[in-house]
């Protein structure tokens, strides 16, 4: 396990503040970071080092909590504690705020683009999840306001191929939503975590969902379609989700983020104990009851809580992380030799 995760570079991305979240653009050439200093920074490589290419500073009145790139890579959405979501249009190195989405009653905690590029989801401390539709003229319209959670909603993420939305909440549950007729409805509730669920990540195929929690575990859930061979019960034509694996005993504090590499299938976690961990599924493990092994454990990856981990979508093994210490770190992960 030694040297499976190696530090490549460290940048003071949001000095004297927290860095909350990172997002790689679809081509993997740019990294967007956002923080408590109300700014968004865009990072790119120049030779061997990472440099700040743009600063988006006039968009928000309060902390920017999450950023997300559109599937085409031309737009960046930012979710802020000022209750507003900004949509920025990229014009080479410049970004212009083209729309602001209002409606949430308080802090927006997350924003995510659907793989089709036509839908956007936001969630907030006001316990609701909003689904927005965008047309060819860059006009955004609210398609649904979902009040299924009973507490602060921390994260939203779209399925990689289906129009299925997942949300994680302070109410300890994960909820899934899909379109039914003219409206969106909650089609499943995943219970099992014993505390706040902070983040979610789908595996490359979209058949499994990883969730991480304040209860210091990562849970892996699998989708079972009606009529499945394993005999998992489904109600009507809705798929069922079952927890098929729980990773416990590895983290000593709250797990704030989980990221599933779309290239290698490796699972990275960001923890409140300042460490980054990587897990890989054991080869030959039963798909219905998979086992994962810890393949990297970087203690003191940062000097404070690690808030986010993000795998580069094009370069296998390139992982970015950010922390309450305001820094962004770049790592190289290799499957450990001899395992």
């Amino acid at each position: 396990m030694k040297d499976s995760l190696v530090l490549r570079s460290r940048v003071p991305a949001h000095p004297d503040s927290r860095c909350w979240f990172l997002a790689w653009n679809p081509t993997g050439t740019l990294l967007a970071s956002c923080g408590g200093d109300r700014k968004i920074r865009i990072w790119g490589t120049e030779g061997n080092s990472w440099v700040c290419k743009s600063v988006l500073s006039e968009g928000h009145q309060r902390t920017v909590r999450k950023v997300a790139w559109s599937p085409c890579g031309n737009y960046l959405a930012s979710a802020s504690f000022d209750a507003v979501t900004c949509i920025w249009k990229k014009n080479q190195d410049d970004f212009e705020c083209v729309t602001t989405l209002e409606g949430h009653e308080n802090e927006v905690k997350s924003v995510a683009w659907a793989p089709s590029g036509n839908l956007l989801a936001t969630c907030s401390r006001d316990k609701s999840v909003w689904v927005w539709e965008v047309d060819e003229e860059d006009e955004y319209e609210c398609v649904s306001v979902l009040n299924s959670h009973t507490q602060d909603v921390k994260h939203v993420v779209w399925h990689p191929t289906q129009e299925l939305l997942a949300s994680a909440s302070y109410d300890d549950t994960v909820k899934l939503y899909q379109e039914e007729g003219d409206d969106w409805v909650c089609c499943a509730t995943l219970e099992g975590h014993e505390s706040t669920v902070w983040s979610l990540a789908f595996d490359p195929s979209g058949q499994r969902l990883a969730s991480c929690s304040d209860d210091r575990t990562v849970r892996i859930w699998r989708q079972y379609l009606p009529g499945n061979e394993q005999g998992v019960a489904c109600s009507g034509s809705d798929p069922s989700w079952k927890c098929i694996c729980t990773l416990s005993g590895f983290h000593t504090r709250t797990i704030y983020d989980v990221a599933w590499c779309q290239l290698t299938g490796a699972l990275a976690t960001a923890c409140g104990d300042d460490a980054i961990r990587v897990f890989e599924e054991d080869p030959g493990s039963d798909p219905q009851q998979p086992t994962f092994s810890l393949t990297a454990h970087m203690r003191q990856a940062h000097s404070q809580d690690v808030n986010c981990v993000a795998w580069n979508p094009k370069e296998p093994g390139l992982l970015a992380s950010c922390s309450d210490d305001g820094e962004v770190a770049f790592w190289e992960y290799h499957h450990p030799a001899g395992l």
Binding site: S128, S148, D182
Partner: protein, 151 residues
């Protein structure tokens, strides 16, 4: 003569009488406590029912006024949008109609309806979506009591 023990009467009978007398004195505290508790419990129960009824009336009225406001809002906008043409207006109209339908199906007279809160949340969600489409800011300050229609 009363109160005078006859020559044949046993001493034990006298003792029993004396014991009852002491019993009454010694157990008085506990007895009064018990009686007091019983009276209090009954009074509390009936006061509780009164208070509960008042609370229910207030709470029910709050929900009623909230729903009533949504209904008025939806019906007003239905008229306003009637003359509108174009795709945007038809989407707004669809949402107005959906909200009206939800409100019509809501059981106003059944507080034990099992999906009361679920349906209320759906109605509130639909209302917020409508406000977003119409670009209207809903005022969500909740005032305790009072005749003003502000929630």
């Amino acid at each position: 003569m009363r109160g005078v023990r006859g020559p044949g009467e046993k001493r034990a009978a006298a003792t029993v009488v004396e014991q009852d007398m002491f019993d009454a004195v010694v157990m008085a505290d506990e007895r009064f406590h018990g009686e007091g508790y019983q009276e209090g419990y009954e009074e509390g129960s009936s006061l509780g029912i009164v208070e509960g009824r008042q609370y229910g009336t207030l709470h029910g009225a709050k929900i009623g006024s909230e729903i009533g406001c949504y209904r008025g809002f939806a019906l007003a906008w239905k008229c306003l949008l009637h003359s509108g043409t174009g795709e945007k207006d038809s989407r707004k109209m669809k949402v107005v109609e959906a909200l009206i339908t939800l409100l019509q199906h809501f059981p106003y007279d059944d507080p034990t309806y099992e999906r009361l809160h679920e349906d209320l949340d759906r109605i509130r969600g639909k209302f917020r979506q409508l406000c977003s489409l119409l670009n209207v800011q809903p005022d969500f300050r909740v005032t305790a009591g009072g005749s003003r229609l502000a929630f």
